[in-house]
Subunit: 454 residues, 2 copies
């Protein structure tokens, strides 16, 4: 009985066509990262659980894939631990390693371990898969790629502007219209203070984050349900309803924050980021969005999120400043700022909007038909000459019927077929069929080669 072939839930194979489209996205992101002086690193798929656990909240810890210790993994486990049948308590006894959950924590671990080899500010990018034991659903996978760029060891707000410039460039090259939403942790602090919500900061930002999806009324009701006094909620309302461009909003906020120094500090920083970033924008709109919060426990300064102008696919990219990422690994005072591109969502959006070029794959351009051993040997030599000139070429491996060989070229999208039979062998000429026009003509190999070279 043959075994059933299947993939683990939430994982995927990528076919050559999918690879070509995915690589287009990765290549653009990589090129823009490099244009800005970011350098690549890679970290292992497996990290010690001591590195991973406690960094993503209780829910995150559960979603980390754990790797069973090799060999006799029960040998050090006491019988009463087994008898207790408590999976959660048994896990650390059975597993020392896990699969990385994101690229940020491994990066922090990397910086701490290699701090003496690195020169700061250190600008790195990293494009690798991560794994999460999430419930698989449309657009959510258990293995997916993250594309991160971070600079660590510099508090300058020029870094924020540069990352916004990177975002602008990436989506401009991918031909996706975007809005870059920005906010600042300290503006949110100011907002909470002036509304008398300093003790309900998390509740407030959680509610604000949802306005986008559920509307302001539902968000306000949520706050009210949580026992937050109506006067506080009423003081939030006009701020969230502010109109105008970024300058107008910041100007109005200054009045609101007269008694809130943190808020004013946030405004000053936001202004500086915009002063740097707005003049270099080629394509994207930057919008100050006071409801933007994103994983706030993490970010300490600027917060960034990217959404598509068209379509409702959610965040395509996000990031912000975090003041103490490496502290947990013993290296204090390392401020960092970074962004992460969501390759899977960008892929889905581009597919939906037909943004991938039709002929994307730099595949085989010439197929040599195989008429037999003697002819094929000649074709092997000529194929190598094409390759030396940068033209991908194949010799059909079997002496199959002509129709089958043509079908192969057709399915693979190969534009030219070269036929070298007994006749061509003796005359030294070749026959070339243009698969698009269907025309076939006799020529010399040299002339054919010259026509192909761009």
């Amino acid at each position: 009985m043959p075994e059933k072939t299947a993939l683990p839930r939430g994982t995927r194979d990528f076919s050559p066509d999918e690879m070509a489209r995915r690589n287009l996205i990765f290549d653009v992101i990589t090129a823009v990262f490099r244009q800005h002086g970011y350098l690549p690193i890679e970290t292992p798929a497996m990290e010690n659980l001591s590195t991973l656990l406690g960094k993503y909240g209780e829910e995150g810890d559960k979603l980390i894939f754990k790797i069973l210790n090799s060999g006799d993994f029960l040998s050090g486990v006491q019988q009463d631990h087994l008898s207790e049948r408590n999976s959660a308590k048994l896990t650390p006894l059975l597993c020392e390693k896990g699969l990385r959950y994101d690229l940020t924590v491994p990066f922090a671990r990397f910086v701490v371990m290699h701090q003496n080899e690195l020169s700061f500010p250190f600008k790195r990018y990293q494009i690798q898969p991560v794994w999460r034991a999430d419930k698989p659903q449309k657009g959510r996978y258990r293995e997916f790629y993250q594309c991160d760029a971070d600079v660590i060891g510099s508090r300058s707000l020029l870094n924020e502007a540069e990352l916004i410039g990177i975002i602008d460039r990436v989506f401009s090259r991918l031909r996706i219209g975007i809005i870059i939403r920005v906010n600042h942790r300290k503006i949110l602090t100011g907002l909470a203070e002036t509304a008398g919500l300093a003790d309900h900061f998390q509740d407030m930002t959680t509610a604000l984050d949802k306005i986008d999806k559920t509307g302001p009324e539902n968000a306000m009701k949520e706050l009210s349900d949580k026992g937050i006094p109506q006067p506080s909620i009423d003081r939030l309302r006009p701020v969230l309803a502010m109109n105008g461009d970024n300058q107008d909003k910041l100007h109005a906020l200054k009045q609101v924050f007269i008694q809130a120094p943190a808020g004013l500090q946030g405004i000053r920083e936001m202004e500086e980021v915009l002063e740097y970033a707005v003049p270099v924008m080629q394509h994207a709109d930057i919008q100050l969005d006071l409801t933007l919060a994103r994983g706030l426990n993490y970010y300490t300064g600027t917060i960034i999120e990217v959404v598509a102008k068209d379509g409702n696919i959610g965040s395509l990219c996000g990031g912000g400043r975090y003041d103490d990422l490496t502290g947990i690994f013993g290296l204090e005072g390392m401020s960092g700022v970074g962004v992460a591109f969501g390759a899977e969502r960008i892929y889905d959006l581009m597919l939906e909007m037909s943004l991938f070029p039709e002929s994307i794959f730099c595949g085989t351009r010439v197929l040599f038909v195989n008429f037999g051993k003697k002819e094929a040997s000649r074709c092997l030599l000529l194929a190598d000459q094409l390759r030396d000139s940068g033209i991908n070429a194949e010799v059909y491996p079997e002496t199959a019927k002509l129709g089958k060989q043509f079908t192969y070229a057709d399915k693979k999208g190969i534009p030219y077929i070269v036929l070298i039979g007994e006749n061509e062998l003796s005359t030294g000429m070749i026959s070339v069929k243009d698969m698009k026009s269907g025309e076939q003509h006799s020529t010399t190999f040299e002339a054919f080669l010259n026509d192909l070279i761009p």
Copy 2:
């Protein structure tokens, strides 16, 4: 207390320098694969254990990293299974998934699952990490990359020749002198039959495989120790001592195999492979090596192994024909042939032989010094103009001391520094420092840009 930062044993981080060198190898291999019409696929890191187990022998099964089931993994496990304390028996109850051990079995699974979407012969390449719970030692890691090219669905020996051509091209472009050793499973069968060792085939090939390392006498002694009669061993000796080039050896073997039809078939196939391959060799030597066996239970035809002409680092690449890879997953009659490049060994060898170019990384070419907000804003615009012309550029993020900014450029190997201070802002000129010569001069931005464009 900060947590201790460490990596799991046998795993590695890759720094930007290491990434640049590794990518050079991957880029060459990828380019050559594509030149020959091979297309990329990727498969997930995790596979079901039912896909992986039983494919790599008992020892291999132990070396597969298993992933603990998510959630309450003990819920379906009976108490007596726990009480028994048998790790091996408990593993399949705790784990459904494992990390891939190589790229060949996932490829076979891929072909079977996607057989209706693929057109055959299907030529694919795949460059991804694999994981093995091997004891880590010098040059052996628990996470390492494999670079595989396989063609499936064609029995033509032209495929073997093409793969040999790929090997030749890859190592030629990496400037590594190599010998391509070839052999044929059926020649080994013929050898066993004529020596009366048909019942000791595995013993014979295991011994032959070791001749390279321990010399013929030790190998012969090993056979003798296994109880193989001396006359059989004596019949092997002259064959293994054969001199001359490939043609001489094949000619002599024909006499030996007069009564061994399998052996004669192996010779015919080997001859055809060489007829195709030898004329297209640009760089490498092909040597028929009758002691070459490599994981024989797997290969059914041509066997290929690559060693460096200099250095004694072992196999850099290997492969061969397997007649029934997908049979185990229910798809019969799919013959395939493939090769796998060992990127880690190639890396180590190139480092040892100083084969990496000194300036390998296409990093930042221009650093703009940061003299303050106004100056930096101007630099951001100019940096973007450089990027638009394909020149990677950075603005130093902080208004730091000049010495610090120069040190940053120096450490990152940035060849040009642009200085735009108050003076330059008012005159519209820029100052450029050439880090190699140490010279500094004043110029226009346009002239500087034109000089940089290749």
